[in-house]
């Protein structure tokens, strides 16, 4: 039996659903990890965290421009009508993940927005310096049967986010939601919000049936390449996808669903030569983990060598595009087989292409320790993945960080 010595303290602990949820307290053990590992001396950029914007639809819907949609959204005696595309969802694992019950009740500090308080608390606890925050239910809007809803809501959400919340905290950044169905509306988003403080890139929700190589998108890619701003494709799942009709569990649909559209979009991008057409366009594939990358590399290379005629724009193997022209967020980092993970990171050039992401507060979030504690990465690779690679992908962030260092 271990010699424990005298207890430093004994106290009653808060447990279960309770009043006064505090994200920093919930993540107390993360803060201990951050202290133990000395994160305060390491730049940590989290390229994919979230909020539940549906908590704030009462604030968001006033920015909807279409009067008929705005009327629809604001019905039900002041309670925002649900105009989203919904699937069955068990993110909170039937109540086992206690923060899902607590976060909606977390109170703001002083006069700041509750989102500002919440995000600062979790960032402080985890040890994150900068964080890109994305919506949650809106990630399914690419499947909405009425594409006007995506256009209207992405506009309203972005106005709320960039005007009411983002200016309160310089550590929070945004990749602005592009209503990909409507190229003109997407270009308007880029022109309107691209220069706003805190906006460092743009994002398309991956769960959609769009062909990303369609000619209509070329002027969108050209505009982003010219501006030097990255385009993220954020994965999600759609329980109502016909392929998933036989899948009865959240775990099944989530495991496959968060990779499926990423596989399709990455394949279409490569085979149709988008990286050759826009060599300076930085594409970030968000929230699909890493395990799919070696699979796609091997599949595409094998078939490409037999069918180069079907991909005439390519000047190198598909796997080389995946390892050199795409960037990846790290979460959920599949780490149950260290040998497989080490090989995956080697194949994808993780040292330069991988960017740490937490996905907090979602059910499968990752702390920086999932990178920091990897036994096969050297110190420089860890620092690159946790923060420095992000500076290469996001020039506006790089300028800000360098400016801050200069003034320090």
């Amino acid at each position: 039996m271990e010699n424990l010595g005298e207890a430093n303290f004994v106290r009653e602990m808060a447990v279960g659903k309770r009043e006064g949820f505090n994200s920093r307290e919930h993540l107390r053990n993360a803060e201990l990890q951050a202290d133990q590992r000395g994160y305060k001396d390491i730049l940590i950029v989290d390229v994919d965290a979230h909020h539940y914007e549906n908590q704030y639809f009462g604030e968001i819907f006033k920015y909807i421009e279409d009067p008929v949609l705005k009327h629809l959204a604001l019905q039900r005696d002041g309670n925002p009508a649900n105009i989203l595309f919904n699937s069955p969802n068990n993110q909170f694992n039937a109540g086992r993940l206690l923060r899902y019950g607590g976060i909606p009740h977390e109170e703001a500090e002083g006069n700041e927005h509750p989102e500002t308080t919440r995000s600062r608390r979790q960032r402080t606890a985890i040890g994150i310096d900068y964080q890109i925050i994305f919506p949650t239910p809106m990630l399914a809007l690419g499947m909405h049967p009425d594409p006007q809803i995506e256009t209207a809501l992405s506009w309203a959400y972005t106005r709320w986010w960039t005007e009411e919340v983002l200016p309160q905290d310089n550590s929070v950044k945004s990749m602005v939601y592009l209503p990909f169905f409507d190229v003109d509306a997407s270009i308007r988003m880029i022109k309107t919000f691209g220069e706003m403080p805190g906006v460092i890139g743009f994002m398309v929700t991956s769960t959609r049936y769009a062909a990303v190589h369609d000619n209509k998108y070329m002027r969108l890619y050209a505009m982003l390449e010219e501006r030097g701003m990255p385009l993220g494709f954020h994965a999600a799942f759609n329980q109502q996808e016909r392929l998933f009709e036989g899948m009865n569990r959240f775990i099944s649909v989530h495991s496959i669903g968060f990779v499926l559209n990423t596989l399709i979009h990455a394949t279409n991008m490569i085979i149709n030569g988008i990286p050759e057409r826009f060599p300076k366009l930085k594409i970030l594939l968000i929230e699909s983990g890493l395990a799919w990358i070696p699979f796609l590399m091997q599949r595409l290379d094998n078939e490409y060598l037999m069918r180069t005629n079907e991909a005439p724009l390519l000047k190198k193997l598909p796997s080389q595009y995946l390892a050199e022209n795409f960037y990846y967020s790290s979460q959920p980092l599949e780490s149950t087989n260290m040998e497989a993970l080490e090989l995956t990171m080697k194949m994808m050039n993780a040292k330069t292409q991988l960017l740490y992401s937490s996905d907090y507060p979602h059910w499968d979030f990752d702390l920086p320790s999932v990178i920091w504690d990897l036994p096969f990465l050297d110190d420089q690779a860890k620092r690159n993945i946790l923060g420095l690679n992000s500076l290469e992908v996001f020039p506006k962030l790089k300028a800000e960080v360098l400016g801050k260092m200069k003034n320090a």
Partner: protein, 123 residues
């Protein structure tokens, strides 16, 4: 043997959970169905505060004689302590991880002396 007082048995039986910190190790002490447990308050996954989590019966599948699924139910004989960060589950009795057999939460001895509950260790 060395004992450190945690709480009176009444407080633990009322459902309160207690944290004790020994040389940097945080231990959670709590009662359930007449038993008292003491585990390190650190999930083996990413270090979450496992002691804050729900206690639920293990979910079991009930099959009929032809191995068709009849229903699912919560076990009445096997409870689990579930980490509130990500949902990793552990046997309440042994601390064994539900998904990784043979891997255990660190368990500590407790002593109940005349209604006072102690965590015990070697002196």
């Amino acid at each position: 043997m060395q004992k450190t007082f945690i709480a009176k048995i009444e407080a633990i039986e009322s459902g309160q959970r207690f944290l004790a910190k020994f040389s940097g190790i945080e231990i959670v002490v709590f009662g359930h169905k007449g038993q008292i447990f003491a585990y390190e308050n650190r999930c083996l996954h990413q270090g979450g505060p496992v002691g804050e989590g729900m206690i639920l019966g293990r979910v079991v599948s009930v099959l009929d004689s032809e191995k068709r699924l009849v229903r699912e139910e919560f076990s009445e004989s096997e409870d689990q302590l579930i980490c509130p960060w990500h949902g990793w589950a552990y046997s309440l009795q042994t601390g064994e991880c539900a998904g990784l057999r043979g891997v255990y939460l660190k368990k500590f001895e407790i002593v109940n002396e005349k209604g006072s509950v102690y965590v015990q260790s070697q002196s």
